[in-house]
Subunit: 167 residues, 2 copies
């Protein structure tokens, strides 16, 4: 993503952009905050599976925007040189989504729907992280990704027979 | 990561580096290929859990190197301007690890250890992706991450009682 692309898309010039945003990182951080303010997380219904799928569908839509992945990439690449970009991404995008997913899982835990030793932060990382892994690998996101990842995170992949034999 | 950092670390000058690597992306791609050639994936033993943990420990060690995450970030950020970097990362690092994880899961599948509807590519994405999700969120990787993610991916998080009641 070059500043020229941004200038063209905004029908303005590089000079005008520089006037308002002293660095590319400041511009990207502003874009992140703006994108977040126009996007509302879906409300919860109390059905864990359905609520997780709705959140991940919303996540997938926001990631499908053309510059989402390059902006995350730039934030990671510039962590040491322009930390405000990664900070803005974490504060305005990542934190609220993770908090929502964590809260859905905690509510299910309080309804006794989860195994006693569940690691909720790890489950959130499995749900969201699988999308990052496909993107970094260059794979298309599978059809019905949100439903499939929720089901597989909830129920696991080892067959019952083998699991009981093993333990 | 600046080119000056690289030059200092390599006891050379920016000019010398530019002579050999025409772009920062070409330099980073060469670093990726070199890192890969010095790192051998652990061999498989036939015990799914143990083999997955060994692969993920190896992955975690390679990601803990100071510039691993910034290099992945730069590759994603420059996908349109310097695609050779992301291509090198995928070809020399990501593909071989995913293939190894996939193969461990396929072997377990052929031993009837997995549920009939398992999505193996998705399971690989859960395992590796959870690390990316913690990194992007800025969380420390949890202690014993490799063991904990393998157990949670294999057995799921929904309690048996609730799962059977639901279906």
């Amino acid at each position: 993503m070059s500043l020229d692309d941004v200038a063209t898309a905004a029908h303005t010039t590089r000079a005008t952009i520089y006037l308002r945003y002293p660095s590319k990182a400041a511009l990207a951080a502003a874009a992140i905050v703006h994108a977040r303010s126009t996007s509302v997380l879906p409300p919860a219904t109390g059905d864990l599976r359905q609520d997780l799928v709705a959140q991940l569908r919303h996540f997938q839509e926001s990631m499908a925007a053309p510059y989402s992945l390059p902006i995350i990439g730039a934030a990671l690449a510039e962590e040491h040189t322009a930390p405000e970009l990664l900070a803005a991404l974490r504060e305005h995008v990542v934190a609220s989504r993770r908090q929502m997913l964590r809260s859905l899982l905690q509510q299910a835990q309080s309804r006794d729907e989860l195994v006693p030793l569940v690691d909720i932060d790890l489950a959130v990382a499995q749900l969201v992280g699988s999308y990052y892994a496909f993107s970094i690998a260059g794979d298309l996101i599978p059809p019905n990704w949100s439903e499939r990842i929720v089901d597989q995170v909830l129920t696991g992949i080892v067959s019952d027979a083998f699991e009981h034999q093993e333990r």
